[in-house]
C-alpha cells in the first residue's frame, strides 16, 4: 500500500491504494469518477484518456502510484457551474457521439490536441485521434465538433 496525495479536478485527494492499482481503477472505484471508461484495456482505444499535468495519458496504462503528486483532470472536471466546456458543447451541437462510450476519452484527447495546435485541419485531427477508437465509427461528427472549436477560437 502507498499513501497517495494528488489533485483531481482541482481538489486535493489523499488515499491509501495498493501499488498495483491502475489509475483508471483508482478514479472509477476509489473516487467514483466513472466518466473515465475502461474500453479495450490494452492501451489502444483511448476510452480511459485523462490529463496528467496537462497532458493526455491513457489511465489504463499507468499505475495510480506513478501519478502521486500530480494534477489529474477527468471529464467530470470540465463543466464549470453547470456550463459545459466548449468541447463538450461542440460534441453536443455536432452530435459527436452515437453510443457515447468513447466520448469522455475523445473529449479529453480533443482538448489536449487543441492545446498543442494553433491550427487544426481535418488531416491533423484524424492523425491526433489515432489513439482513440469509436466502435460506432462516428468519426465524421467528432472531427466536425473539434474543428468547430478550433475555428471559433
Amino acid at each position: 500500500m502507498t499513501a497517495l496525495s494528488l489533485t483531481v479536478n482541482g481538489k486535493p485527494v489523499n488515499a491509501d491504494v495498493e501499488d498495483r492499482t491502475l489509475l483508471v481503477h483508482f478514479l472509477r472505484d476509489h473516487l467514483l469518477l466513472t466518466g473515465t471508461h475502461v474500453g479495450c484495456d490494452t492501451s489502444q482505444c483511448g476510452a480511459c484518456m485523462v490529463h496528467v499535468n496537462g497532458r493526455a495519458v491513457k489511465s489504463c496504462t499507468i499505475f495510480a502510484v506513478q501519478a502521486d503528486g500530480d494534477c489529474i483532470e477527468t471529464v467530470e472536471g470540465l463543466a464549470k457551474d453547470g456550463v459545459l466546456h466548449p468541447v463538450q458543447a461542440a460534441f453536443q451541437e455536432h452530435h459527436g457521439l452515437q453510443c457515447g462510450f468513447c466520448t469522455p476519452g475523445m473529449i479529453m484527447t480533443a482538448i489536449d490536441m487543441l492545446g498543442r495546435h494553433e491550427q487544426l485541419d481535418e488531416a491533423t485531427i484524424r492523425r491526433e485521434l489515432e489513439g482513440n477508437i469509436c466502435r460506432c465509427t462516428g468519426y465524421l461528427n467528432i472531427i466536425k465538433a473539434i474543428r468547430s472549436v478550433a475555428e471559433a477560437r
Partner: protein
C-alpha cells in the same frame, strides 16, 4: 487487479535507483511504462519491485553538440518530436518520434525505455541503429551495432540504466514505416542515413530484432536514390510472419519503405 502484486519505489537519482535495484531480489526499472505496464497487465512480467526512474530530471534533455545530437534517455517521444534542436539537427529523428504509437503513448514513453525493451516492431531501434548512435549507460558506452542483441534482448545488464544516446549528424536521413493500423507498431520501418562517406540502413518490424541491410547500404553509397533501393531483392528468409503479414509481404515492404525513406531524405 490485473498485475501480480509488487512494491513501487520512486527513485530521485540514478544512484538511488541503483541502490534500490541492488537491495531487491527481483526488480525492474520503470520509465514511461507504455510497454512494461501492458506487459505486467498480461502477467508476462511480474517483478517484485518496480523502481520508477521517470522522475529523474537529469535524464530528460536534448543537447546539440558540434558533431552530435545528445538525447537524454528519459526524454518523452512527444518532446523529441517537438524539439526544434532535433528538427534542425536530424529532422528524420523528430519525424520518427512523432510516428511512435499515438499522442498519449508519446506523452509517457521514453527513448531509453524503448531501446532497453527492444521490441521487434519498435521505431527507435531503427533510428539508433540507422544513425550508428552510441548508448551511454551508468556503466559504459555501447555502440548501436553491439546494443541490440536479440528479440527483446540488449547488451544491458539487469541493473544498468541508459543515461543518454548520442546520435552522429548525418548529411541527410529519412524514416518511413508501414504501421499496424491498430497498434501503430511498425509492420516494417526503414531508417536510412547518408553520412557522405557511408550509408546506413536499419530495418525494424520485419525480423526478431532490428537489423542493417548491408547490401542496400552498398548500393546507396554509390547512388542515394529510391531507384537504387528498388534494385535490391530482399529475401523473406528469417523474416517475421504473423496474422498481419507474411514474410514475403514484409520483404516487399522493406523495399517500399526504403524507397520512401530515401525520398524523404533527399527532399
Amino acid at each position: 487487479m490485473y498485475t501480480a502484486p509488487f512494491h513501487y519505489r520512486r527513485a530521485a537519482s540514478l544512484t538511488e535507483a541503483e541502490e534500490m535495484f541492488r537491495s531487491s531480489d527481483d526488480a525492474r526499472y520503470l520509465a514511461g511504462g507504455q510497454t512494461l505496464v501492458p506487459t505486467m497487465k498480461q502477467r508476462l512480467a511480474a517483478p517484485a519491485d518496480l523502481i520508477d526512474i521517470a522522475r529523474i530530471a537529469s535524464l530528460s534533455f536534448v543537447r546539440r553538440e558540434a558533431n552530435a545530437l545528445i538525447i537524454g534517455a528519459g526524454t518523452r517521444h512527444a518532446d523529441v518530436a517537438a524539439s526544434q534542436d532535433v528538427k534542425n539537427a536530424i529532422p528524420a529523428l523528430a519525424h520518427l518520434a512523432g510516428e511512435i504509437g499515438d499522442p498519449a503513448v508519446r506523452h509517457k514513453g521514453t527513448l531509453g525505455g524503448s531501446i532497453a525493451n527492444n521490441d521487434p516492431a519498435a521505431d527507435y531501434p531503427a533510428g539508433v541503429l540507422g544513425l550508428g548512435a552510441t548508448v551511454k549507460t551508468t556503466k559504459r558506452t555501447i555502440a548501436a551495432d553491439k546494443f541490440f542483441t536479440g528479440l527483446f534482448e540488449t547488451a544491458l545488464e539487469p541493473d544498468e540504466i541508459i543515461i543518454e544516446v548520442s546520435f552522429p549528424l548525418p548529411r541527410r536521413a529519412g524514416y518511413a514505416k508501414f504501421p499496424n493500423p491498430a497498434s501503430r507498431y511498425a509492420m516494417v520501418g526503414v531508417f536510412v542515413a547518408d553520412f557522405g562517406s557511408a550509408v546506413r540502413v536499419a530495418v525494424t518490424g520485419a525480423a526478431p530484432f532490428v537489423f542493417r541491410m548491408t547490401e542496400m547500404e552498398a548500393a546507396l553509397a554509390k547512388r542515394f536514390t529510391p531507384d537504387a533501393a528498388a534494385g535490391i531483392v530482399v529475401s523473406p528468409d528469417g523474416l517475421n510472419s504473423d496474422l498481419f503479414g507474411s514474410a514475403e509481404y514484409r520483404a516487399h515492404l522493406i523495399t517500399v519503405m526504403a524507397k520512401r525513406a530515401i525520398a524523404a531524405a533527399v527532399l
